[in-house]
Symmetry: C2
Amino acid sequence: MAIILARRMADLRASDIREILKLTQRPEVISFAGGLPAAEVFPVEAMIDLTANVLRREGHRSLQYSTTEGHPPLRRAIARRMNATTGTRVDEDEILITSGSQQGLDLSAKVFLDEGDVVLCESPTYLGAINAFRAYRPRFVEVPTDDEGMNIEALERLVAHHERVKMVYVIPNFQNPTGRTWSLRRRRGLIEVASRWQLPVIEDNPYGEVRFAGEAVLPLKALDGAHLVVHLGTFSKTLAPGLRIGWVAAQPSLLHKYVLAKQGADLHTSTLAQMQIAEYIEEGMLDRNLPLIRELYRERRDAMIAALAEHLPAGASHTRPDGGLFLWVTLPPELDAREVLKDCIAEDVAFVPGGSFFPNGGHENTLRLNFSAMPVERITEGVKRLCAVLSRHLEGSQARASCV
Amino acid sequence: MAIILARRMADLRASDIREILKLTQRPEVISFAGGLPAAEVFPVEAMIDLTANVLRREGHRSLQYSTTEGHPPLRRAIARRMNATTGTRVDEDEILITSGSQQGLDLSAKVFLDEGDVVLCESPTYLGAINAFRAYRPRFVEVPTDDEGMNIEALERLVAHHERVKMVYVIPNFQNPTGRTWSLRRRRGLIEVASRWQLPVIEDNPYGEVRFAGEAVLPLKALDGAHLVVHLGTFSKTLAPGLRIGWVAAQPSLLHKYVLAKQGADLHTSTLAQMQIAEYIEEGMLDRNLPLIRELYRERRDAMIAALAEHLPAGASHTRPDGGLFLWVTLPPELDAREVLKDCIAEDVAFVPGGSFFPNGGHENTLRLNFSAMPVERITEGVKRLCAVLSRHLEGSQARASCV
């Protein structure tokens, strides 16, 4: 006789990324595997002063329990900022503060998913969302996705074909893992399908403010005439992830369900951290720091693309993101990125094999590269090493092919 | 056609406590309804200095992503402290840092409960646990409970009688809502039953360190030869709740399941907040502040008990807690605390009707009083007003009875 766990626990596994990261924590490893924002632009000194200001001004309130919905000045600042920078029309009462946008994913699953329900998602999609949703035992149906976003005809077909489709999950800006951005046409197409079928759409937008090239595209939330979009935001990439502050923006009756779910999950998010971030925004520091982040990320993406142009063997291709933290490489179909990774680790370079980002498996000839966390010289050197391993694998597979 | 939510959402309701609190936020109301710690003893000034120290010393690391398990120095400090003050033998690897101990409740349900599984709990039990567990759609079976804790014979009978009993949830020290503390004999009895049936025991211990009278009793975790106890701790009552830092202590293979569940739920808890608390403990500030908290709470409990001795009408009784934040009043069975509350609010005094703390309903002749959040004079005045309303209700019910 032993303890009996919930059935869902059989589906939860340690994430590939985290296991790989453990192997690559030696300082000599050039790791493109993580999803870390550049720490150099974290406002450490500013945090010292603003924390002192908040504690002096707010006193005991900053350390006391507060409401599940969140600190009113932060909800207000987020609504204003979204409306001013992205074209939405969100009221402060439509904002719930969460413990990172990861919690927004968990709450979305809690609010919408019974066991066996269908989640439609991009193919590939964010590994952290797969893990969050899996605890609620849904079926994942991957919608074919290209450089413009989901194929809308395929989406419509899949919605019609599957019973119990409960929500659509997408990352329209600089997607994790591909770095792709949806066109406006596809965004409108998704909203049209969602409206016809009354399907909630979870718009995960951690990277939208980290655009360093091209023109911004309206978020789904700004196109949301039918009030079906649940927009997830975060300060992890625009300020710092260690504070774990994100938000959910949704129409009031739906937001109330998220509030009830969050009340049971952790009562509320840190009062002090919410006040720190409200202060950071109100003092104009977010707006002053964002250009530095964008410029740094652009340089690093440029360095990665330049190195790939020089070294990536023929037959492999990659995306060219206009923002965010990631770039996606597709290898010839005969290569297995997990095998490539093993040899790369021997050469002190690491990445995440792309197969992890497909909830139903396959696509082992893909990989994700992070360009935000490393200085330019390390990026150049790392890509060179990675591509040398790739070339060896390609030659090997061609030699094997010619023996047949 | 409308959005279809998960079935669990039909079971989640706004908590009584929170709805009542909204009615009683006028400053003239003397509210015994909340569960707020005394804000006067929050270390606001100390937080300013230690935050600056942490940010200067740890730099970018304090704002970066960190591991799901938690900040190693904090895990170490918690394990050491538990072992030194409560007699456990917990290793730092057996500690997971959570976003308040409320998250420990949510994760416990996620790890153990499928729909329809049975949770055994005290009768009454903590409302926040009922809400957290309800999202996983279990059946609650209440175990008869008296001043010494659960009736162990009844517990054994209920375990044998019900199929799919998956966990036992208890608050052995200064229980919320009753303020009762389990005897050592009952604790041993629970561990014996749990071992025989291989049942996980969730030991929720938010108040253990806030003992202001009597002798400490060994926690279940210290009696846990069979490694079945999941111990939940928090800094909400010993430092400040607004930081939302708690922990789970469990044997390694079980803790790993909690880690996986937390990874999906919110990745990890605030890096900066974990460092702040580690610093607070390491600098000896927790140990210096605790006696002030205990002394203040003892004074307030004394004031409440003195006022009840003077004013509580015959036929009503109350508990005499040796620690924690709450005291429990039982009225004659013909009175309904919800009706009493309505009249109390008109007199600017508030409490939580006890019925909310029984997951299967009933017991409307009980109520919970918080004594931690209010100065002595307000406690005295509030109890006087409350008891005047109670006396009116009692006279009314006696008059009605004599008319029959």
